[in-house]
């Protein structure tokens, strides 16, 4: 059975911490090519691997993984601008 696509923010979080794929792979205990597959969303991690990734980035699972395309982090940080709150 082919599972549904799981979206993630791994490339963004990895680049933010200045890590190479090889280094991240060593930290989470997988082959570096597996990190590539995860980043391209061509492989859905097991619960154990997903939790290890979240543990390393110190973020809750829902901020790293999602079943729908994840919004950019900037959209989450700044309040939504509407015509009402414009000066």
């Amino acid at each position: 059975m082919k599972g549904r696509r799981i979206y993630n923010r791994i490339p963004l979080l990895r680049q933010e911490r200045g890590l190479s794929r090889k280094k991240l792979a060593e930290i989470i205990g997988v082959n570096f090519q597996t990190v590539g597959y995860l980043e391209r969303e061509q492989y859905n991690p097991s619960l154990d691997l997903a939790l290890r990734i979240c543990e390393y980035f110190e973020l809750p699972v829902e901020q790293v993984f999602g079943i729908e395309p994840l919004p950019p982090l900037s959209a989450m940080l700044s309040p939504k601008r509407t015509d009402d709150n414009r000066p």
Binding site: V30, F32, Q33
Partner: protein, 150 residues
């Protein structure tokens, strides 16, 4: 980049299996027609050389031999998943190939009263095939293999 690597691997698979088949045809003819022995023997050996020459870039340099011959303790969850799938498919293909050879052997003897010899090169080829089939399936299907990174 992954597609280019995979296309190259697919070309090597085709050549590797083609030369393996030609080698078996040559050595089979050696047994069947003795007057062709020297020439066909030489052709068979040449095919064997090409099998070896295509085996190294396809299975050793790509790391596929190691991947399919390593215990699951040394692999990560994705590698276990893809090798498991490749081994499952290889088991099916290998069974069909061996049973077809046995069927041809039986039909030759029972129906045509001819002898279809199961020769040493044929058995050696089957042992070789049993070891390379999982790696061949991975080389055919995967975009990235251990020895390559795109």
């Amino acid at each position: 980049m992954g597609h280019l690597y995979r296309n190259r691997r697919r070309g090597l698979i085709f050549l590797n299996l083609l030369f393996l088949l030609l080698m078996n045809v040559c050595f089979h003819l050696v047994h069947a027609r003795f007057e062709l022995t020297r020439m066909v023997d030489a052709l068979g050996l040449l095919c064997l050389l090409f099998v070896v020459l295509t085996f190294f870039p396809l299975h050793m340099r790509t790391g596929l031999w190691k991947l399919t011959h390593t215990g699951s303790d040394a692999l990560d969850e994705r590698q276990i998943q893809i090798t498991h799938n490749a081994l499952r498919l290889a088991y099916g293909w290998f069974t069909v190939i061996v049973l077809l050879i046995l069927l041809v052997h039986a039909v030759y003897r029972e129906v045509f009263a001819l002898s279809f010899l199961i020769t040493v090169p044929m058995v050696s080829s089957l042992i070789y095939l049993a070891h390379i089939l999982p790696g061949t399936i991975l080389a055919w299907t995967e975009l990235e293999v251990p020895g390559e990174s795109s």
